[in-house]
Symmetry: C2
Subunit: 448 residues, 2 copies
């Protein structure tokens, strides 16, 4: 670990909390002591946000769907994720009961208007004193399209072209006013200086938006831009526009390739490497011992309904497993079209942990991305490795169940990260940009 000790002064971990669905794990709401309605109970979410703030998290991140997913009812009815709060209303309420933690809302460029999106994020940024972030998604979900009058979903490249224009409009609207436009001169009666107001007058391929925005420039200049797309178009859009990327990376080696690729694109757009943070999602289960952590994870998996687990496992293996003996070991599986690395990972789980087909199905149906299951020390070791080896700049942490999963992380893992000097003990700034070490964007219309 000598290498990491030297870097310690240089690099700090950034932590987001992935909070919708409250847990990605479909059995979370049934875990002993869990809050079954945690995704829908403001008192609970307030308590969690305050816990995360006390643990000095960078941000509370609110994922989103614009539909009840159109899956078979037999599976849908078992999940806690069909319904939840809407992100802007929830995060605005949380802004009033927290003072430091960042608040990242998801908003789609496909199903909303740039003026609305610019305005709501500016408003959240003002309400929170500069803590807003925009998770810009292009929404590929066809179920959402049907809720917005679109029979056919907009195709992938078109969505990204539209997203880029949408981004230009939203940031242009945020720049409608110079930072010191509002002089409020009681004596002269001038509320603002008209020379410091800009009418955007955007007329582009997809949108026509006059402006100016009817809200002052956000405290952060622009709320922090967050993205999650991992396709070629998604990586390019991120390199051009994003300041944080939430991504799914199955393991450190894959993560390092993604990290190098995305960071490597920045120079082409005249951007500094440090001005985009890469934060893979990590599902963290904490125990006093490794065995205890694994037992929690195994118990959690038992709450996944076998039927939905078998469907997920069949997809992961590229093979219909429903006729296998559920209580026997996984047979050898022939080659298939399924991603080889994903397939191998699943097979490895079965072999290493001696899982039955049922247990494997429940594992895959519960959650099958990057996970860190262990003691506070082993989890801190893993996180430090990702940081030191340039696999990430931190993590978007997913909790296995609530509230204990959050409390375990906040009270056990965070102190261990702090002890190692790779995570803040106190917030040193006030805004989400401060927490993430990002520059405040200049106003494109008003240089100084």
């Amino acid at each position: 670990m000598a290498h990491s000790r030297q870097l310690r002064q240089l690099r700090q971990l950034h932590l987001g909390a992935f909070m919708r669905p409250v847990s990605l794990h479909t059995g979370a709401w049934r875990f002993p002591g869990a809050w079954p309605d945690a995704n829908f109970n403001f008192a609970h979410l307030k308590r969690l946000a305050q816990t995360l703030e006390a643990a000095r998290f960078d941000a509370f991140f609110m994922a989103d769907h614009l539909a009840v997913l159109n899956m078979p009812v037999s599976a849908l009815k078992r999940g806690h994720t069909a319904t939840s709060f809407e992100p802007f209303t929830l995060l605005s309420a949380l802004a009033a009961v927290t003072s430091k933690i960042g608040l990242v809302a998801t908003a789609s460029t496909t199903f909303d208007a740039p003026y609305h999106v610019a305005r709501r994020f500016a408003s959240l940024d003002h309400l929170s004193g500069g803590r807003a972030g925009w998770n810009l998604v292009t929404t590929s979900n066809p179920d959402a399209a049907l809720n917005f009058g679109l029979d056919e979903h907009v195709e992938h490249d078109e969505r990204y072209r539209r997203a880029r224009e949408f981004f230009d409009i939203v940031t242009g609207l945020w720049d409608s006013w110079d930072d010191d436009a509002f002089i409020r001169d009681v004596a002269s009666g001038e509320y603002f200086d008209p020379d410091k107001m800009h009418v955007l007058d955007h007329k582009g391929e997809h949108y026509s938006v006059r402006g100016p925005l009817n809200i002052a420039r956000p405290p952060q200049g622009w709320p922090v831009i967050v993205q999650a797309g991992s396709s070629e178009a998604g990586r390019e859009l991120a390199a051009q526009t994003a300041e944080a990327v939430f991504t799914a990376q199955p393991d450190l080696e894959t993560g390092k390739r993604f990290y190098a690729d995305v960071k490597g694109r920045l120079a082409r757009y005249g951007r500094e490497r440090d001005h985009l943070k890469i934060l893979p999602g990590a599902f963290v289960v904490v125990g006093e011992t490794l065995d205890e952590a694994r037992e929690k994870r195994a118990l959690l998996d038992t709450f996944v309904h076998a039927e939905s687990g078998i469907a997920s496992l069949s997809i992961a293996l590229g093979h219909d497993v429903s006729r296998f003996d559920l209580d026997g070991p996984l047979p050898d599986i022939p080659e298939s079209n399924a991603s080889r690395s994903a397939r191998q990972r699943v097979v490895d789980w079965a072999r290493e942990e001696n899982l039955t087909v049922r247990q494997l199905a429940q594992r895959v149906g519960g959650y099958s991305g990057l996970e860190m299951v262990g003691t506070p020390e082993s989890i801190a070791d893993e996180m430090e490795q990702w940081l030191v080896q340039e696999g990430s700049d931190g993590f978007n942490v997913m909790f296995p169940f609530l509230p204990a999963g959050v409390d375990d992380f906040a009270l056990k893992v965070v102190p261990e990260l702090q002890r190692r000097g790779i995570f803040r003990r106190e917030y040193t700034g006030k805004t989400l940009r401060d927490h993430l070490g990002l520059p405040r964007p200049a106003n494109r219309f008003f240089s100084r």
Copy 2:
């Protein structure tokens, strides 16, 4: 007042606080001791909402614009209303720091999608424990159209047809789930009962929306429906759908005609008279004496810029007054196309209060609707007259300046209303429907 004493057990005043712009009066931000940034400072608005809740107001009402109004810069720059918080974000934040007062947000049926609107109000209703209201506006402002890619504004009747369909979809989406659909049965693993989920599948003239809404039915069933349209189409839509009407009525006689007309339309739709509350806007200036109140009002008017006042006065009189001697009395004005009653009211002000043309211009440019200027007793008398004579069910109170205008009303007028037994001393319910005495709507898809 014997008549009023008899009715006292029966009828109670309902009070909303009209809070955006923070004052309708364009000179408000310059008044001595006023907060010039009150419309844009969350700490201030939190303080005001908590004061209004302590005074037992029914609701905090947030008006809205979807544009910086395209008026001459010389006038625009003098107002405090060009920018403000966005309603959903502000009211959600206020929901977290209040516990009883209703929260009414304005949302347009012309520039938003029904799924978004249904979802945000449902979310605000859940966050606030049943305190949300939807001020349904059709938005006639052409400046807003230009911010949403529409070169020509949608014409009046078409807007109302669209609004009616929009309303049907939003309320249909709110009914997507039965009130007890979410059983969260940890033992069986059923999170909800699929028989209690309804897919709307709306295909209409203007909209196609599948559903279901991805949020549980609001605590109030539906958030309270509020409207402000006073045209024939507006009154009909209100009679069919509204539960509260915010309206501009210049005086009690006009108010009584409006009240009788709108209440008279309800039976046609099988609705009870009491299930729609009529709340005219009232601009209230409180003094220890009538003279002190009038002096405050006159001082406030001096903060209106003469230029914008003269434009407003010319419109009100239907005559260009810019060549008159500003410091002389109002000359006789020939007949014109201007509304005779509005014109006469303005002329009466000039004669009764011996105003110069400049003072009259400042009065009209500041605020020219219904006002109650006087002592707590005289204001309570006026309000009681409106209630007793069936001019209204209460008021949407507009404050002349902040915070003193709110404090004066809360600490002086409200106790006088309470003393007379026409306004609550304590909240007797928890939801905005409870405060307004409105029934909880049945779910159209799940009867019981």
